[in-house]
Symmetry: C2
Subunit: 295 residues, 2 copies
C-alpha cells in the first residue's frame, strides 16, 4: 500500500471513530459544540502517529484506534480553550469560526472540558475491547502528556512569556511541553499497544521528541511564510501577539536548517530502534510530512 493510500485509510478510520464516539446527543448543545470542535478538520497528525507506531510494533490495532481518538480529543480541546478571548483570542480555526465564536465562551469552555474527559472515556471502553492493563498504561501516558508537566505546562510558559524574549533553550523547553509532549505521547501510546524492547521504546521516544519539536519549528516558519487561507487559521498571529518563535529567535534560514536536522534525528532514531525498517516506513514518512508540509 502506498503511503498516500495508507494515510487515506487511516484518516477515514479515525474520522469514523470520532463520528461514532463524540456524542451528538450530549445535553443542551454540548455535544454539538464538542463535535464542532473536533470533527471535519485538522491534519490528524497525532492519530496517524499512533497508528504508525502501533504498526511498527505489530500492536493491537483496535486499542490503537481508541488511543488515536483520545489523543486527538486532547489536542482538539486544547485548541478550543487556546482560541478563547482570555488566551489567544482567535476567531478562525481549521477554516471555520472558532468554537467560542459559534457557541459562546461558556459553551467553548465546557465543550473543551468535556472533550478532555471524553478522551479518558474513550481509553477505557467497558466492552472488553481493550485489555485493562493497556487501558491504564494509555491513561497514564496521555494524562501526563496533557497535564502540568506537558501541554498545560507549556501553555502556562507561553502565556507567561508573551512579549518577553526567550533564549533558544527556553523556547525549546516551552515547545517540548506545549506541542512536543502530546506528539511524543502519540508515538508512545501506539507503541504501548504492542511489545517493545527498552531500546525500542527509547528510540521511539527520541523519534517522537524530534518530530514534536520539528512540528513546532515548521509551524513557526509557516506562520510567517503562508497566508491564512492556506493555513486555515490566522497567519502572522505569533508576530502579532509578540510571541517568541523559532523564527524570531533563530531567523528563518536557521529555523529551516533546524527542521531538517530534527528530521534526520527522527530517521536515525528509527534506524536505531531495532525494529524492521519496513515496519517503520510510515513513521519515517510521517517525519517527512511534518517537515515538508505547507500548512
Amino acid at each position: 500500500m502506498s503511503f498516500s493510500a495508507w494515510m487515506r485509510d487511516a484518516l477515514l478510520q479515525v474520522e469514523q471513530a470520532l463520528e461514532r464516539w463524540v456524542p451528538a446527543d450530549a445535553p443542551a448543545g454540548l455535544g454539538e459544540a464538542m463535535r464542532y470542535g473536533v470533527l471535519d478538520g485538522g491534519k490528524r497528525l497525532r492519530p496517524l502517529l499512533v497508528r504508525a507506531a502501533c504498526e511498527a510494533v505489530q500492536g493491537d490495532a483496535a486499542a490503537a484506534l481508541h488511543a488515536a481518538v483520545a489523543v486527538e480529543l486532547i489536542h482538539a480541546y486544547s485548541l478550543v480553550h487556546d482560541d478563547m478571548p482570555c488566551m489567544d483570542n482567535d476567531v478562525l480555526r481549521r477554516g471555520k469560526p472558532t468554537v467560542h465564536v459559534r457557541f459562546g465562551e461558556a459553551g467553548a469552555m465546557l465543550a473543551g472540558d468535556a472533550m478532555q474527559a471524553l478522551a479518558f472515556e474513550v481509553l477505557t471502553p467497558e466492552d472488553g475491547s481493550v485489555d485493562p492493563a493497556l487501558q491504564a498504561r494509555l491513561c497514564a501516558l496521555l494524562s501526563r502528556a496533557a497535564g502540568h508537566a506537558g501541554m498545560a505546562g507549556g501553555q502556562a510558559i507561553d502565556l507567561a512569556n508573551t512579549g518577553k524574549p526567550l533564549d533558544e533553550a527556553q523556547l525549546r523547553d516551552m515547545h517540548h511541553r506545549k506541542t512536543g509532549a502530546l506528539l511524543e505521547a502519540s508515538v508512545l501510546m501506539g507503541a504501548a499497544c504492542g511489545p517493545t524492547t527498552p531500546a525500542g521504546w527509547a528510540a521511539l521516544s527520541r523519534y517522537g521528541a524530534a518530530i514534536g519539536l520539528a512540528f513546532q519549528v515548521v509551524d513557526d516558519i509557516l506562520d510567517v511564510t503562508q497566508a491564512s487561507d492556506k493555513l486555515g487559521k490566522t497567519a502572522g498571529k505569533d508576530q502579532h501577539l509578540n510571541k517568541p518563535t523559532y523564527v524570531s529567535v533563530l531567523g528563518l534560514e536557521a529555523a529551516r536548517t533546524e527542521a531538517r536536522a530534527l528530521r534526520r534525528t527522527a530517521h536515525e532514531a528509527l534506524a536505531a530502534s531495532g525494529l524492521a525498517a519496513e515496519r517503520c516506513e510510515h513513521l519515517r514518512q510521517l517525519a517527512d510530512l511534518v517537515v515538508d508540509r505547507e500548512h
Copy 2:
C-alpha cells in the same frame, strides 16, 4: 473510633496526599494556581465518600486514597472553571478570592485543565501501588462522571436554562448530572477498590444517587437561608442569577422534606446492600452530614 475522629483522620490523609501530589513546581505559576484551587479548603465530601465506601467493602485503602484525591481534583477544577466570568462570574470561594481573580482568566482556565489531567495521573501511578485493572476501572468511572453525560453535561443544562423555568423532573435531571454524578462516582470508586456483589454495587449506586441529589437540595436551601460568611461563598447567588433551584421550584419547606426523604432512601439502600451494618456506619453518617450540614 468515633465518627468525628474518623473524619479528622480521613481529612488529614487527603490533605497530605493533595499536598504531595499537586505539584508546587509546575512551570510559570501553574502549580501555584492549581494548589490555590484545591488546597486548604472545601468540605472534602467526595474523598470522605470514597474512603467510607472502600471501608464498607473492605477494599484497598491505598488505591482509595488515589481515587479520593482524583475525584477532589475534578470537583475543584469544575469550581475553578465555574467561577470564571464567562460562567457564574464569582469572586469568592471557600472564603478566598476565586482563582481567576487571583491568577487571571487564562491562568484559571489552564489550572482547571491541568487539574483535570492530574486527576487521571493520580489514578494511574507508575509505581505499582495500584493494580492496573483497578486503575482502568477508576479512570472509566471518573471520566464518565466528569464528562458530557455527567458533570459537564449538567453544567451545560444549567447554562442553557438560567432564567428559564424548569419543572421538578428537569431540575432533578440537571442536578443528577451536575452534582450527583460525581458524588455517586465517589461512592462507586471507593466500592471498586474491593469486592462487591452485583446487588451490593447496585445498592451503593442507589445510596450515591440519593445523597448526590440530597446534597444539591440542601445546597439550594442553604443558598437562601445562610449568609456568605458562613458558606464561604456568595450567598443568594442562585436567586441573583435567576437560576431554577429546588427552593424556587418546590418551596423551602417541601425542599426540606425532600432532603429528609433522600436521606431515608440512602439509609435504606445501605440496609439492602448485603454489607454488614457496622461497615456501612460511616456511609450512613455521611448521609446525615449531607442533610444536616449548615454550610
